[in-house]
Symmetry: C2
Subunit: 116 residues, 2 copies
DNA sequence: CTGGATCCACTTTGATACTG
DNA sequence: CAGTATCAAAGTGGATCCAG
């Protein structure tokens, strides 16, 4: 167990139906309340939003700050450590963009519905 | 629809319970037969190995070369295009490695069973 | 407002046996 | 050798309702 492939370690943290979008918004806004996030990603249910956030929090990617007040207020933000993901996410995004172009070359630009 | 987040595009291709390991081996060996791969990843079933390989093939990451002979012989290899994944996989691996170290700092090195 | 708790549908993976 | 086919098990996400 010296230095095998740890790609999965990174994947574990990024994978989740909504994590990329969530991270996208939190990275962009620096800090967001639960409800704000929910409005930015309307299709997600509160349950999923909660669990995905908790997982990211568990991995120390985002902070969860609870204000002791009524009504409740909870703010999510990127941790310092979480920022170390920036170059990786950027790389993945870039590769994704070029991959879409590659698909054009292969299958032609006709059937672009594939990229929902 | 100019240039939203395409992180998911990359994830779609890399995600799969066995894809990272499979890619790891194919990248390393350049070309592998079905049975060889299976021996390198013993826990996977033939069914899963087949489907994961087909998905990678569909995305033009690997080649599938069938030799018309008996008994059958099929070789898998990285496509030229697939090689464009190298830096990304390397980045993910690196981040994964450092993340494991980060976990040590946070939770201590005691409960390392978490990294199965 | 920010969740937690349940229940259910759908998807993914696995076990096993069979085939050209 | 390199798969397919079939069925069962497990995992995941969604709908809905409840709560501090």
């Amino acid at each position: 167990m010296a230095h095998e492939c740890k790609v999965e370690t990174a994947l574990d943290i990024l994978v989740g139906k909504w994590k990329p979008v969530i991270l996208f918004h939190i990275f962009q806004k620096e800090t967001l309340r639960f409800g704000e996030l929910h409005r930015l990603v309307p299709d997600i249910t509160k349950k999923m939003l909660t669990t995905q956030l908790r997982e990211l929090e568990y991995h120390d990617i985002i902070n969860r700050k609870v204000y002791a007040q009524v009504p409740p207020k909870v703010e999510y933000s990127i941790t310092e450590y979480g920022k170390s993901l920036t170059p990786l996410l950027e790389s993945m995004h870039q590769w994704g963009v070029s991959h879409i172009e590659h698909l054009d070359e292969i299958y032609g630009e006709d059937q672009m519905e594939n990229n929902k």
